[in-house]
Structures are given as structure tokens and as C-alpha cells.
Symmetry: C5
Subunit: 364 residues, 5 copies
């Protein structure tokens, strides 16, 4: 059997809640941490990755601090960051649990051990090898003037474009606070949804085209099913973003400035567009399937008609020649001089009549 | 493969939000701008299209200003208008993004860089060449005493009937403010939905008729599927208008006068009628498909019955003539004087019995 | 093609809103207007139909005024009534637009040009000729002490039973105000829904019976589909009445007295019953279809089995007789004295074995 | 045709609302009325059935009065009770209309002509003769210290167990007021839903078993459809009880004591369990149907394979023997000494090859 | 027939509410009761199981009391505990009714005879023998400083891991109150849902793989249906947990401390994940079925094509040899010297032409 398609998060039964366990693919590399500090005037990037440098900034710091953590498979690293930024153990569990579905937690009340906004979501890539969609687990922690972003260790840093914009001082990133940085990182993730959707739209276009032009085989159907599965699984990843952004827009956390609100509304708009497009695509698939099934049915009809026409022509003929193959002593026709040619003539008439009949009935 | 049917808005990943990118069909013509000023007494139309003349009118102007922008493919033009009317960059992005779904934004709070109502919606035409529905991206910006309407550059100015009514001083347009103009432009768009629906209703009528009268072929099914796809995509364009009008009716923006409310309610009513009609049509399609499939199935049944009747008649006959074709030395019947005619008689009886049997069973 | 089944309201694109256009069937007769005045003591009916007599009654009139307008195809008549009773132009448009879906408008605020309750709904009849459901457009305008009812001009006055009760002074109609008259007219319409439902229930009963007893042909399926279409279209007409009555019950318009409320609640109850019965019927149809399709499938199975049994019996026999029809010089069996009868015996055994085999397998 | 399965309540069109009309099966017996009075100390049962004794008890009576009316077909009896207990005419109409769906009315405001709680619901029995579910119309009227229960006249008094408990002074019935009695009577009705469900579960179990074990015939499918119809119709009867109990729990009528609340909540719980179980059963039916259809399809496949194998073996053989049945003067093989046996050998090889081929392809 | 799959809770009709009746499997063992007392400093476990020791602790006790009741089949034991902890009879009925669906009751008002939180839920195990899911009925009663857990008597104590953590003083259990213990026991139950889901995901993976690779037989379909049934039934058990946790989070019972809230939110999150995963799996099943059905259809097509090709090749050949088997006196070809070989040649040409024709049509 091929690699497992359906995965379910499963920590060992009865483990104490808040235990840090990594359930994703095995990773060999060490965790990479980028420390970025910036404001409108200047910026500073520290790629040394020393954990000790990753401390909660003082409340009156004039810079925005961004910790970009590339790798979530080392419980020690995630745990240490959790301690330094006073993050709730359940939250750290969610950072490491790659099967955790997207969610938001507002730790802005005194009951939680830390104030802030916690968001996890899924970065999606189309895996060209397996022809399936890979989901990368991303978590974002927003504090008063800092953002920590966690991503699975892969070949590419998914937040590179954001860092690029900080370096170039282009865009609005440098002028705004950590909340805008939260938006910018989420925006990169949502942008990728459109790329994945684009790939799906192309596939759907191709499959639809094959089915309508009647050149689809059984593998086309398997592809259609695979596409539907991808869309169903993708919806599970994208749909919760509606709630996440809804909470950010509604709850009016003090960490999110009013000027960031239009951007979050715009992002929600994009997420809605992805979900609605997915839904309208998924709605079309049963109809396509029906066209395919009716095609199969029509083909069988054609095959059956061919067989029936064949039988209708040759069964009477074979019967006639059988008659004159009989060995009766007294069969007058056998001794007629043109008997043979008469029978050949009769058979031509019978065959022609059959052909005309089936042409009239529209079977030929 | 034919032209792409499914399109997904895709700005380059990681682009800074608010970047103006046009994603529609390539356009060669320059943007045309009509500047219309009117009140109950007089009106003035300036088709020179000078951008410099398009300025935010002073708050106490006695005229309503309408800028009808025909063409959204030039980032420079849209950007310049955005600056002069102090429109938010995200809003301008939506003006140019032809794949943006219909939405409303009330910039009536101090947090946004501009006060006003922003609406984007889709003008729908039936494209008689591709037999599909073309969507034209339309955006409307309502300010205190002005309206800016953006439309894609096509052969026709879709708001011509509104301009006509302003010229003729007929209708209520001249007596009312910019909010009524917003309603009037949206009303033109919704009127076209009924035209498109009318075309779909005709198609559905025709397909249903063919299927019920049993003259439908595989292409009828493909047309039915295409109709369903069109309805599914159209619903995506029309459905959001409910929310848009709901927001306008509920939020009681100071820009919308109470006298315009009944007109907006009436418009919402029309939109609801379109959506509900679409839904009831779409609901009928699976049933039609079932009738078609059962027809195919019944036809195959008829073919199979023909084959079986043929076999049932000729197989025994061929067997009988085979018997008397055998070369045994001692076959008494062969030497009987009327043996041949007896066999012919027996075969007539067998064939008649078969025909009677199948008639009784209702197969013939 | 038969008459159009799917209709979409379509006023000419770009027409000024509030323009009165009639879109229904062409009517030759003039509009008939009945003017009824009544209170608990006496009543007066004026069938002269003079438009000039149809004036807004003074606020302190001791009678209830009922204008029963039979015919909505004359824009001049509807327009004149609109002027005399100060009705909003959009409302008059809805009176004449026979494709307008049921709706309610409470003009009880000062923003509208007229105070009152406006209701449009659909009278349904089963058209025994086309075997389809005809919808008649009905509009009701409730004022302080008057009711105007508009109906399409047909052979029958649908509100005749209400008038009868006013004449007979039976029922509660004479004791109550115009709001009770509104209820009474709506009640007549809803009563007819039950009649139409009754007809549908009979059809469903009959179709179900045919399918279960396996005597259904292709026309049964077409009838089932037609029934589903009727139910789907009917639901569109009945469903909005829920909202209409919901608004009347919730909004507590000063025009509706508390004593009328239980009657409206009862009416809502009846409407709910119609909608829920429709829904449960519609839910059963796919199951019926599956039974029908499986029947078709079973029949084909039976045909195929017959063919296979025929072939299994005669193919070996024909082969055997073919063997002894060969002309080899040395075929010992041919010269045996009882060779012929042995072969006949063998063939009987083969045929019997086949029959037993298929009986065992349950195919015969 | 068998008895009608789908019934629609239909009072004559245009009848004045509140007219008492009985629409159920014809009943010959007279209405039976049981008059029960009880409190914690004693109880008194009067089965004389005199209508005159059925009067509204004074407000300060120390007993709970229960009128158990067995028979709702006599308009005079229901009308008289209505007058004595000051019940609204519309309410009495609902008592007699056996097609009325379950509903609740709180007449606890001064606008209604009587204060109280009115509930109608459906008692369900499995009718072992028709194999369908019979619904009996039950109505309950709760006043300050009395309860009137109306039931259709059938062989059994459905509230007998409640009366039994009052007599035995067991249970909580005697200690509590009329509101607990309302609960107790509804509880008996809901208990019967479980009995009916139990029967359905057994049927579903049996049908599923037959289909999975592949011994299902066309009648199994008809039974499955009948089961679905029953579930759909039953849901219509049970579902409204959710709202009825919801209203009782939420509205906090002064007639319902806080101590009765947990019992009503428990009852709601049971109703929810019935509805959810029904829904999960109904959801399984399409899947079962698919298994059945695929079984039919597989069987046809088997039949076709048999036919094809038969043809593949005997067609070549019959052709070969045909060759040597030809009468050419010069056919060398015919004169070979072992020609006949060689041909027999060749045919054995051909037949064996065919069998091996089909075994390899998995067709045999 | 195998054991019953669908069960409906059924206490005898008309039984007084609150009567304790056990409806599960028959159990022979006596109920086991573990009495656990702990706080941050020490703990004490009493497995003697004496009922008399199970008393309501005084309000100011410094320990948390946990009664773990293993066995709910003895009405006397459950009744005695109910009396000692002053639990409502309806609640005890729910403890013993193994068919009761999951629910929550907050007895935190003075109207109930006891204050506290009552939760029932279902422990799920995959039964490897019946390949089905076993549900174990679990009830939890939370008081000011105690928790009573009821479970069905099975081979394993499902709360063993929680007891283990109390003994080891690991985890947060010892530091927190009875509300955290409630969370910890529910968490164990929800953890098992993931185990069960994991098993389902494996099954789905396997079935999907077989269907896509076209090696699925009828038993695969039966397994797919069984999987769907399991998922449908499981959803019924898991879904109510959403409401249960929603009530705990929303109602802010004084018994639940704010520090426990994040844990309950986390648990709700897990439950949501289970439900959504179940839903997305269930949504994929119809698509899989369609692929399977189309495979069956394609196979029949292949069989039919084989038969038709066979017939198309051998029918003409058999006809030709039949011609020359006729016994006419004058058939010139029979006397040609190479007549036989010419006919063999013609037949080779005919057969080859047929093969080429079917290859071109793509049937071979």
C-alpha cells in the first residue's frame, strides 16, 4: 500500500495534557531561529539562532521583535521559547502537533498564564511528486511588540517574502507594528492557497474537458475522485481561517490596531473567496460524474447494438444455409438448376432488409 | 484544450497588499472617463476625460458628481483617482482585480483613510459565441455628493440607460442625490441578471423538453451539465449582493437617505428572486438527469430484448436443421417422402410458439 | 415545443423603477371593481366599478371599506387607485408584475409616502388541462379602515366565499375590522394550497403504487419528475408566506388588532404544515426513483438470463449435430446402427443437465 | 389501489375559521369522558361521562381535575367542553382536526379568550396489519388546576398507565399538580415512540442483513423504501415536540412549576434521542441502496460472463465442424485416415485453451 | 441473524419516570468502587468498596474525593449512592440507561434537589472480534470537592491512567481540584476517540486503495458500507460532547475554576477535530462508491465487447462454411480444384478485417 493518506493526531492515550510530542515526519536538521528587530528607521537581523537571545522584549521597546522559528520537532527548543515568553503549555502542545487543525486563542485575560494572540494555520503546497497537497503546520504568537512564527523545517523559509519587504523598507511592514506583521505572515499563507487553487482549477478544467469530449478512461475518474478528496481536505484547512479572522475582527484585542483592521477584513475576504470557489468546484463534481457514467452507459448501448445487428443479420442466414445442408432424400429445391443462386439471392434480400430495418430504427 | 473555464485570482505570492495589479483580459484602448454633474435644474456632461478635472467636490456643492470610468486596466489612472478621492489602497486593488468577488465596504468610520461606501459587483452578459456567461467587473464608490463607477472596457457602456434618464430628466434620478444614483447603477446590473436568467430558463425548457420526449443524445447531457455549471458560477456572483444590500439597509449609513431605502429594499427583493429561481432550477437538474439515465437504461433493455428474441427463434431452428444435416447411415426420417416438409412444418410451429411466448411476456 | 414552463419576470432593462408594466397573459376584459362597505350592523355592495368612487375613506368612518379589484392588466386603473390611496410607485409595480414573488412591505413609517401593510401572494389552482399548477398573482393593501385586494382577471372571483360570509353576517368577518378581512382573504388563498396539495398527494400515491407493483413505464418516471417540478415551484410560492406572517406577528403593526393575532398564528401554522408536507413528499421522491431504477435493472437481468440459458442449451447441441455433419471418410459412429439415436439421447442428457444447472443457480 | 398513504388536512375552502369539522376515520361509538379528581390524600374517578359535570373548577380547589376525553368526532361534545372551559374556537378546531401537526399555544395573555397551555401531539402505534404506523391525534389543555386530554376513540385508552399510577399512589403523580400530569401524559406518548423506533430498528437490521448477505430481492427494496417513508413521516410527527418542549422550558409559564422543569428537560432529551436516531437511520439508507444496486450490477456481470464464456468455447468449435461439413470435391483432410480424430483433438485443445484463458482473466 | 446492530433505549411504557432500570448486557460481577482522596501533599486509595464509606464530604475538606464506580448494573448500589450524594432520580436513571445519549445537566440552581454538574458520555473501543465499535456508558458527577465516575463493568478500568498520574504526582492532577479531575477523565475518553478514528482512517485508506487499484470485490463494498455505518453511529456519540463542553465553557458554573477553562477549551478543540475529520471522511464515501460502480460498469463493458468481437468474427465464418455445406446439385465452386483453399483464404481475410476494424474502434 502507498503512504497513508488519512492521518489522525494521536498522542499516547492518557498522557498528561500539555506534554510536548511531535507527530510529524522525522526531521534530522536542528531548528533554525531568525531574530529580526525593526522599526521605521532601521532593522537588525540575527541569524545566529542562539536561544538565550530570544527573550521577551521590555514593554517600552521602540522596535518590533520577530522570531522566525524554522523547525518544530525539538521539544527542548519549543519548550525553552515557551518558558521565556511565558506561553501556556497547551499552546506549545498545539505548536508541535502537526495534525492540530487551524485555531485561534486570545490569551488576553488574566486567567491565562500569558497575554497575547495565538494562531495556528496550514501552509499548503502542491507536491508535484505525489500529486497531492502537502500541509505545513504554522503557528503565530502575537505579543505586545513581538511576533513568534513557528514553521515545520522544510527546504524553503515560507516567510522569506515578508523578510524581503522588511529589508527593502518597501510596503507598509516597517511603518506598522507586530499586528501588521501577523497580518503579513498570514497573508503569505493565504496567497499560497490561491496558487494551490489555481492548480486544482487547471486539473478540473482538464478532467471536465476529457469527459465532455468523451476521451475519459477509468483513470480520469480516479483523478476526479482524487481532486475531490484534495478539495475536501483543503476545505478543512481553510475553513477555520474564517473563524480565526472573525475573532480577530470582532473581539477588538488591544494588540490589534484599528489601522490593521481593513487589512484583516481584506484577508477574510480572500479566505471567503477560496472557500466559496472550493465549494462551487466541489458542487460541480457529481454532475461531471453523471456525464461520465452516462457515457459509459451509452458506450455499452453501442456495443449491444452492434452485437444485436450482427446476430440479426447472420442468424437467419445461417439458418437458411442450414436448411439446404439437410440430407433429406426428397428436397426438390436441391435439384433445381438455379436453386443455389436463388438461395444466395434470398439471403441477400434478407440481409439487406435487416440493414434497412436497423437504419430506420436509428441503430446504425 | 479550449479556453480556461475556472479562473482564480492570483496576484504574485508575497506582493505587498494594496499593490495595483490587473488580472483580466488584455486591453489596448485607453481608459475613458465621463464626468457628469447634475441636479434637479440642470446637468453638464464632460467627456474630455481629463484626469485633472476629476477632483473631490466641495462638501456644499449643489450638484451631484458622477465619474463613469470605462476601463480598469491602467494602474496609473486608477491610482490617480484613488489619490484625488482619498481611497484606501486595498479598495483600489479590489477595483482592478477582476476576479474579486462582489463585496461592500463601509468606510464611514475615522479609522479608514476615506469616508464612503464601496461596492463591487458583476455585470453579467450571455456570450452568444462561447455559449457561456461573461462577467464584467464593476465597482462603485459613493461619497457625500459624488459617485465613481468603474467598469471593464468593453464595447458597450453599461450605464448608458442611467445617463439617458439624467439627460431626459425623466425618472427620479435628477431629483435625488448620489445615493439614488448608486441604486440606479446597481439596478441596471440586476436588470441584466434577469436577462441572463431568461436565457437559462429557455435552455432548461428546451433540454427538459428533449429529455421528456426521449430525443436527447449525449450532447443534451453535456448541455445540461454546462447549464448547471453556469448556474453554479452565476450564483457565486449574485448571492453576495444579498449581503451587500443587507448591509446598506441595516447599517443606515448617513450617505443613504431614507427615501432611497424603499428602492434598495425593492432591489434586494429582485436579487432574492434571482437567487431563489436559480436554486429551484438547480434543484430540478438531478431529477432530469435521472430521467435521462433511466431512458438510456430502458433503451438498452429494448436492445437486449431484441437480441434475446432473435436468439430464441433462430437457435432452436438452426439446431433442428443441424440434426438433419448429420450423416448417420441410419436416420429413418431422411428417407420419409414428406420428411423435409414435416421438418419445415415443425420449425414454423417452434418459431410461432416463440413469438407468441414473447408477445405474452410483453417483450414484443 | 410546448408552452414555456419557466418564466422570469423581465421588465425592459434600464427602465426607471416604478414604471407600471404588466407581464402576464394578455387579457381582453376591462378591470372589474367591487366596492364593499360593512360593519356589524349593515353592509353595502357597489359593483358599478366607477374608479371615482374609490377614494380613501376618512379616518373616523364607522365602516370597513373593501375594494376588490378583478384585473391588474390596465396600468391606468392601477395607477389611478395608487394615486387616490397614495400608494408608493414601487408597490404598484409589484401589483402588476405577475412574476413578483410573495412579499410583505410595512409602510408604517413616515419615510414612505403612504402608511399601511402591503402583501402579495399567489393563488394556486390545479390546471386540469395542462396537468400543471397555475399561479394567480394576488396583492392586498391594508389601510387604517380599508383593504384593497388585486387579483388577475380570471373566470372566478377567488374572494367570493369571503363576500358570501359578509352578506350572510355569519362568521366573524362583520364583527371585526379590515385586519380581519386581510386575514380572511389570505386564509382563502391558503385553503386552496391544501386543495392543490391534496391533488399532489393523490398523484404521489398513484405513482408510488405503480412503481412498487412494478407496472411503471417510462411515462411514470416523467410524471414523477413533473410532480417534483410542481412541488419545487409550489414551494417557492408558499415558503415566503412564512416570512410574511412572521412579520405581521412580530412587528405588531398598529393596523393589526391583538384579537386578530391568534388567527394569523393559526394561518402561519397552516402554511408551515403545507411547507413541511411538501418537503417530506419531495424527500421521498429520490427513494422512489431508486426503486424504479433497480426494477429496470432487475428486468435487464431477467432478459440476460433468458438469453444465456438459451445459448447454454442450444450452443452445445448445435455443436454436437455439427460434428456428425462432417464429411470425413472415417467416422466410425456414423456407421453404427443406433448411432443417430445415441446422439439424440446424449443431446437430451446435455439439455437436461443445463436446465438442472440453471434451476439450481436460481436463474430459472 | 390500496388505502391512501398521504393525507392532507382539508376543510372545505372558504369555511369560516373556527368551524368544528372532524376529518379522521368514521367512528360510531359515543365519546367517553373520564372525570378524575385527586390530590396527595385521596382521589375520585367518575366514569359516568356526564358533560354537565365537566365544569371549570374554582381557582382555590385543593384537587387536580383531569378530564380524559376518549373520542373527538362529535363536534357537539367538543364544542360544549370548549364553552365550559372558555377555550378559543381555533383551538377546538385543532382538537378535532386529526391532520393538524403537533403544536403548542400559550394562551397566557389577556388577548386570548382563555388562559392556559394547549398542546397537540401524535400517539404512534405500529399497525401490524398494514405494516405501517398509525398516528392518533392527542390534544392536551392545561389550566390552573386542571388538565383536559383529548384522544381519538380507539380500542385502548392510551393514558391508562397514568390513571393506574394515580390509583396506586405510586410515582410522583399524586404529589404534584396538573403541570406534572401534563408531563406524565406526554411522557406516555414519547415512550411509545421508542416502541415504534424499536420496530423500525429491527426492520432495518433485517433488511441490512439480507442485503449484505446478498439474499435480497426486489421486495427487500420495496420494504427499505417503505421503511424510509415511515421514518420520514414519523419525523414530521416527532420533530415539532422539540419546539413544544422548548417553549414550555423557555417561556416559564406560571402554570408550570420549577420542580416539573427537570422532567420536561428529560422528556426533551428523549425526544432529541428519537429524532437523532431517526436521522442516523435515514442517513444509512442510501448507502444500503447502493450496496443493493451494486449487487444487481455484479449479478448481471456474472450472467454476461457466463454467456461470453459459452460463446467463446462453442463458436470456434461450431465453426471448425462447419468447415469439415463443406462439400468441396477436393478437401484433402477429409480423406486422411485419422482426420476425424485429429479434428476432435484440435477442438479439445481450443476448448481447453479458452477455459484456461478465462480462468486466468478471473472470469471463471 | 447476527447480533442486533441498532439498539433503542426502551424502558417499559408508562413506567414512572426516575425508575432505575439497567438495559445493557447482562453482567455477573458485583460493582467495584474505588475511593480516592488526594491533595497536593498526599493521597489515599480505598479499594474495599464499602458503600457506607461513600459519603458526601464536608464542604471544608482539604482533599478532593473521587469515587470510581465500576459497574452500573445494580440498581441497589446506584440508588444508595444517589441517596448519599442527594442525586436527582432522573439523573440516576441516566446513569443506568446504557442507551442514553451523551448529555450535560447543571444542577446548580435551587430548583433541583442537588447542586452539581452531571455529564454522561460514551467511551469507544474498537471490538476486534465483531469489527465494530463498542460504546461503554460513562457518567460523571461533579460536586464542590468530589467527583463520582460511573462506568460499565468491563475487563479494564478506563480511568487507570488518571489514577496512575495521581499516584505518581506527575501532571497537574494533584495540584488542581475536582473540576480538573472531571476534565482529566473526559480527556481520557476523548483520547480514545482518536484511537478509534485512527483505525477507521486505516480502513478507509485500505478500501480506497483497493477500489482505485481495481481489485475491489463485493465484500469491499460491504466493508465500505460498514465503515460508513460506524462513522454515522460514532458521530452520534461524539457530536453531543460539543454541546456539553460548550455549556461548561459558557455557563461559568462556580464549580469550574478559571484555570481549568483553557483545558476544557482544548478538549472542545479535540472534539471538534474528531467531528470534522469524521465528516470529511463520510463526505468522501459517496465518491468512492461512484468509482466502484463505474468500475463494475466498465468491466461489464469489457465483457460485452469480448462477446461482440467473438460473434463478429465467428458468425460470418460459420455462415460461409454453412454455404458450402449445402447440398445443391449445381454449386460450381464445390467442383473447383482450389475451391476449398479459396474459401479458407476468404475466411482468413474476413476474420482479419474484423480484427482490424475492432482494433481501430479501440475495442481490442
Amino acid at each position: 500500500m502507498a503512504r497513508r493518506r488519512y492521518k489522525v493526531s494521536k498522542k499516547p492515550v492518557g498522557t498528561s495534557p500539555g506534554t510536548l510530542t511531535y507527530v510529524g515526519q522525522e526531521i534530522k536538521h536542528a531548528t533554525k531561529i531568525k531574530r529580526v528587530e525593526y522599526n521605521e528607521e532601521d532593522y537588525h537581523i540575527d541569524e545566529s539562532g542562539k536561544l538565550s537571545a530570544c527573550k521577551l522584549p521590555p514593554g517600552d521597546t521602540p522596535h518590533v521583535l520577530w522570531l522566525d522559528v524554522d523547525g518544530i520537532h525539538e521539544a527542548s527548543v519549543v519548550g525553552a521559547l515557551g518558558t521565556q515568553f511565558r506561553l501556556h503549555p497547551l499552546l506549545l502542545e498545539d505548536v508541535m502537533n502537526t495534525e492540530q487543525k487551524p485555531k485561534i486563542d486570545l490569551y488576553d485575560d488574566t486567567r491565562a498564564s500569558s497575554a497575547g494572540v495565538f494562531v495556528t494555520l496550514k501552509m499548503l503546497h502542491h507536491n508535484s511528486r505525489s500529486q497531492e497537497i502537502d500541509a505545513e503546520h504554522v503557528s503565530l504568537v502575537l505579543g505586545a511588540n513581538y511576533l513568534i512564527s513557528f514553521q515545520e523545517e522544510r527546504t524553503k523559509d515560507i516567510f522569506a517574502p515578508v523578510l524581503e519587504r522588511i529589508k527593502l523598507s518597501s510596503g507598509k511592514t516597517r511603518r506598522n507594528g507586530a499586528d501588521y506583521l501577523l497580518y503579513a505572515t498570514m497573508d503569505v499563507v493565504v496567497d499560497h492557497y490561491f496558487v494551490v487553487m489555481e492548480g486544482m482549477a487547471e486539473k478540473l478544467d482538464d478532467i471536465e474537458d476529457r469527459i465532455i469530449r468523451d476521451v475519459a478512461g477509468r483513470d480520469t475518474l480516479a483523478r476526479l475522485y482524487a481532486l475531490k478528496r484534495e478539495m475536501t481536505l483543503m476545505r478543512r484547512y481553510v475553513q477555520p481561517l474564517r473563524d480565526i479572522l472573525g475573532v480577530l475582527l470582532r473581539e477588538e484585542s488591544p494588540l490589534v490596531h484599528p489601522t490593521t483592521m481593513p487589512f484583516l477584513r481584506d484577508l477574510l475576504d480572500h479566505v471567503n473567496q477560496v472557500v466559496e470557489t472550493l465549494d462551487s468546484y466541489r458542487e460541480l463534481i457529481p454532475g461531471l460524474l453523471d456525464v461520465y457514467l452516462s457515457t459509459t452507459s451509452n458506450r455499452m448501448n453501442a456495443v449491444m447494438k452492434t452485437l444485436t445487428i450482427l446476430s440479426a443479420i447472420f442468424m437467419p442466414l445461417t439458418f437458411i444455409v442450414g436448411i439446404y445442408g439437410m440430407n433429406f432424400d426428397h428436397m426438390p429445391e436441391l435439384h433445381w438448376h438455379y436453386g443455389y443462386f436463388m438461395v444466395l439471392g434470398i439471403m441477400t434480400v434478407v440481409a439487406t432488409a435487416m440493414v434497412i430495418y436497423f437504419k430506420r430504427r436509428g441503430w446504425m
